[in-house]
């Protein structure tokens, strides 16, 4: 297959997963202006649960649903024990460190009980050998399907927030929480809900990524969350479209740099982009510069 094309396709695919992570991060940023710095562990937990359950004999579908349910629960827990108390008492840094710590805790518990080894992840979406012929090029169906699934989820989420009552409620809470409370919106529920949704996004992203690599281990996910950050920042914190485009850009640029310059640089380029973006235009491509009343 064409060199350039293979890089772009793989880049778009991993980028779409970064976008999924970014969208998940955005959700909690809307409602609470916080991010789960331990999101990587959430991704890992979902992927490992799914892998372990299929190893026990459960069907792929049931295992995935269970895995997602587990991390949805984790989302509720994170909000309750790490984010909410930290916002109340520990100032601006508290929740960053608390969520980071929670992720480390999850990782520690997982490696204590399931070992630190990488365990194989089942083929959920097609197999590695399935290809589709587009314009004479053989493209891996796994890449395509992952890309499609990610985009679909993001689009559905965006539609939900724009066109449903629930979505309006979330946006209302995001704009002005006090007003939302006064209006009678169940703000606590909405905030919890945003964390649950965010964790579900992360869990699915974890499964998709594990599908690409084929194995999961407890340390999985940390890098991905960083990529999610980069995607979110590039696109503009809080913007779904931005997250999508940001993620795909990060993915493609990473692969292109790895392919044309050096595979060693592939790793660091994303962070360089992050720092540059934060230094030059923190609001990202699609965000609006924040103006706060003094």
């Amino acid at each position: 297959m064409d060199f350039f094309l293979s890089l772009v396709i793989a880049g778009a695919c991993v980028g779409s997963v970064y976008a999924l992570v970014a969208v998940g991060l955005n959700l909690t940023f809307w409602t609470t202006k916080t991010l789960n710095f331990g999101q990587g562990a959430v991704m890992m937990l979902c992927a490992i649960s799914t892998a372990l359950l299929t190893a026990q004999g459960l069907s792929n579908g049931v295992a995935i649903i269970t895995g997602v349910a587990i991390v949805a629960l984790v989302g509720v827990i994170v909000e309750r024990i790490a984010v909410r108390p930290a916002l109340k008492t520990a100032g601006s840094m508290g929740w960053v460190i608390a969520t980071l710590g929670f992720g480390i805790l999850l990782q520690g518990i997982t490696s204590k009980f399931f070992g630190s080894q990488a365990i194989p992840f089942p083929e959920v979406l097609f197999t590695v050998q399935d290809v589709i012929d587009i314009g004479g090029q053989n493209i891996s169906l796994q890449y395509v399907s992952i890309f499609v699934v990610s985009i679909l989820i993001i689009v559905v989420l965006e539609a939900l927030t724009r066109y449903t009552v629930l979505g309006t409620a979330i946006r209302g809470t995001a704009q002005d929480m006090e007003l939302a409370i006064v209006q009678g919106l169940p703000v606590n529920l909405i905030v919890s809900g945003s964390f649950v949704l965010s964790s579900i996004m992360a869990g699915i992203a974890g499964i998709l990524t594990a599908q690409i690599s084929g194995t999961v281990d407890p340390a999985f996910g940390f890098e991905l969350v960083l990529m999610g950050f980069v995607a979110a920042v590039l696109g503009g914190m809080g913007s779904s479209a931005g997250a999508l485009i940001g993620g795909i850009i990060v993915g493609i640029i990473g692969k292109l740099v790895g392919g044309y310059i050096s595979t060693a640089a592939e790793h660091g380029i994303a962070f360089a982009l992050l720092i540059m973006m934060l230094a030059l235009r923190p609001e990202g491509f699609f965000g609006r510069a924040e103006v706060t009343k003094a």
């Binding site: 202006k33 916080t34 991010l35 710095f37 024990i81 790490a82 108390p85 930290a86 008492t89 520990a90 601006s92 840094m93 508290g94 960053v96 460190i97 608390a98 969520t99 980071l100 710590g101 929670f102 992720g103 480390i104 805790l105 999850l106 990782q107 520690g108 518990i109 490696s111 204590k112 940390f222 960083l226 950050f229 980069v230 920042v233 060693a264 790793h267 660091g268 994303a270 962070f271 360089a272 992050l274 720092i275 934060l278 230094a279 923190p282 103006v291 009343k293 003094a294």
Partner: protein, 612 residues
């Protein structure tokens, strides 16, 4: 509980106790087993590294999730210079530390512009980049193969000026440097610069309002932090003798955060205990390696929430940011001064020596996006007068004050201070020119005492550098004592001497307002802008405030205040300006304002005009 804290604090800060401890450790070193000496050396390195977090995160409130990078720059820097040029560690470590400091200084440029979550991400990214560079730049760092053959006492390869350094010698040098660094930091924290770091964290605007330069303060925090991290990294390199990039991964950054948080973010004493604990624990508890993640995870998740002050808060009294000895000097100086002269009611240093300042704004328009907050407002604030700015909520009063104070420039229009155009001047510059303001709700450092908060106002009046502060030079004592003396006078003026040494977070609202006023006054304002100073005060407090404002007027200070309390303003102000929806609708005295139909309409609605 408190008695224990008092006792432990006395012990931990008593010079004799510390000297004894130092002597015991210093001379006891040869009697320790090799492994114990090595662990203690690791503990000292950890203490030093944690101090770098103390300065940046504890004091300045800037989160760093990638501090291992600076540790690594110090380590690799010293190792590479030693191996390449054959220089000894007394040269290589300082050089490497300076490099680390420089890079931290450079990082402060992008980092200083972003807040909180973005800063966390940026530092995370920075740490990762360092790791990649260490891994890939094989020619310089040895890459993944690592750098071996670093001169080390443990291997017998550390030779300085012909003398072969033993592990005991190394430990002693490290001990000396650590002790000196901690003394330096303590001195620094009790100086104007140390205090300014704290206010950066809690309110950058408050910092600007008394002339504390934000960018420079952040740069100082980063540079000092980088220096400390670099020194600790350098000593680490010569301790282990071999450097591999994986030693500088995110786990190192997380570890130092854990130590700092458990110790108490700005408690050096707590951090010493925490560092020693976390260095010894994996040694004593082989089991710990397996549970390390779980332990660190639990600590990071819950400590800041449940156990905010850490070990420091548990065992010791809160650290103070003013030298007690200098306060005593100041009190003494004041007593002598008042014995010599007749006691006056007002602090004489506040007296305007030459001419009172006036402010003239011309055609100020301010737009926030589509919203027009101020519409071509022009007004004269007369020198030496008390002027009130009133109007309904959202009329643009705070915006006007912000513009005058220099918080942001107007969309169009000009501001003149004593005839000079100061439109484009930032708040820090305006403060230095004598335009000081207070805020609608007091922006104080919560755990500082009243005195410490007020002392922030003296920042721009003192001129010693961070180096002088750390070394506790005589100049520092002189300037601090003078500022403390003036601070005392202000405390007396505001009648809050009784609570001077209590933390403001434990005081009622009225005291906090007064503290903020005190801070503004210590900055020797020519013009003072007060944003709703009477809000939330009791009747008694309001009367007191009015008396104080009259005294300020006697001293020649020009006062502009935003207020809603008409009774408070009655008999106090010389002139009142009424704003409504961004335009001035009335200028004159209180009586005239009450009768003006436009004012009545704005406040009470059109119907009322007919009845008035």
């Amino acid at each position: 509980m408190n008695a224990m804290r008092i006792f432990l604090t006395k012990l931990a800060t008593h010079p004799l106790a510390l000297l004894v401890l130092f002597v015991v450790v210093f001379f006891g070193a040869p009697y320790l087993r090799g492994a114990t000496l090595q662990i203690l050396s690791f503990a000292l390195v950890s203490i030093l590294f944690t101090q770098s977090i103390n300065v940046l995160t504890g004091m300045a409130g800037q989160i760093s999730l990638g501090h291992a990078a600076f540790f690594g720059i110090g380590a690799y820097g010293s190792a590479i210079i030693a191996k390449t040029f054959g220089l000894n560690l007394f040269l290589t470590i300082p050089v490497a530390a300076v490099v680390s400091s420089l890079i931290a200084y450079l990082l402060s440029y992008p980092a200083g512009r972003v807040k909180e979550v973005y800063l966390a991400m940026m530092t995370l990214g920075f740490g990762q980049i360092f790791l990649e560079v260490a891994r890939e730049w094989t020619d310089l760092t040895g890459g993944v193969m690592g750098l071996s053959g670093v001169p080390s006492a443990g291997l017998g390869t550390l030779i300085i000026l012909g003398h072969k350094f033993s592990t005991i010698d190394y430990f002693r040098v490290l001990l000396l440097i650590t002790v000196c660094s901690m003394i330096f930091i303590r001195n620094f924290s009790q100086s104007r610069l140390g205090r300014s770091l704290f206010v950066m964290h809690y309110s950058e605007l408050a910092a600007g309002s008394v002339g504390i330069a934000r960018r420079q303060t952040k740069q100082l925090a980063y540079a000092l932090s980088g220096l400390l991290a670099g020194i600790s990294g350098g000593f680490y390199a010569h301790l282990v003798g071999y450097l591999g990039p994986e030693s500088f991964a995110i786990s190192r950054s997380i570890e130092v955060l854990v130590v700092a948080i458990v110790g108490g973010l700005w408690s050096s004493a707590g951090q010493v205990i925490s560092a020693i604990f976390f260095t010894f624990l994996p040694e004593q508890l082989q089991l710990f390696a397996e549970y390390q993640f779980i332990a660190y995870g639990l600590i990071l998740t819950f400590t800041l929430i449940l156990f905010r002050q850490g070990i420091g808060g548990l065992l010791f009294l809160p650290p103070r940011f003013i030298r007690q000895a200098w306060l005593t000097t100041a009190v003494e100086q004041q007593r002598q001064a008042t014995a010599a002269n007749s006691k006056t009611n007002e602090p004489q240093f506040l007296k305007i020596q030459s001419v009172s300042a006036d402010i003239n704004v011309q055609a100020i328009t301010m737009r926030f996006g589509g919203l027009v907050a101020l519409n071509s407002v022009s007004l004269d604030i007369q020198a030496g007068h008390i002027t009130a700015l009133v109007g309904p909520n959202g009329s643009g009063k705070s915006t006007l004050v912000n513009i005058i104070a220099g918080v942001f420039p107007p969309t169009s229009g000009q501001v003149f201070l004593q005839g000079i155009d100061v439109t484009a001047q930032a708040d820090v510059e305006m403060a230095k020119k004598g335009v000081v303001r207070t805020f609608q709700d007091p922006r104080l450092v919560p755990h500082f005492t009243v005195r410490e908060n007020i002392m922030l106002g003296a920042h721009a009046m003192m001129h010693y550098t961070w180096l002088e502060a750390g070394l506790s030079m005589p100049r520092v004592r002189l300037q601090e004592a003078q500022a403390l003396e003036q601070c005392n006078e202000i405390l007396q003026l505001l009648d809050i001497e009784a609570v001077a040494d209590q933390a403001v977070e434990s005081l009622p609202y009225g005291y906090r307002r007064m503290t903020e006023l005190g801070r503004a006054l210590l900055a020797r304002p020519k013009i003072i802008l007060l944003d709703e100073p009477a809000a939330g005060l009791s009747d008694l407090e309001m009367t007191r405030l009015a008396e104080i404002l009259v005294k300020l007027k006697h001293l020649g200070i020009t006062v502009l205040l935003i207020e809603h309390h008409m009774d408070f303003l009655n008999g106090l102000v010389d002139e009142v300006v009424v704003l409504d929806s961004g335009s001035i609708i009335f200028k004159g005295d209180m009586l005239g304002m009450r009768q003006d139909p436009k004012v009545i309409a704005a406040y009470l609605g059109d119907d009322e005009v007919q009845h008035a």
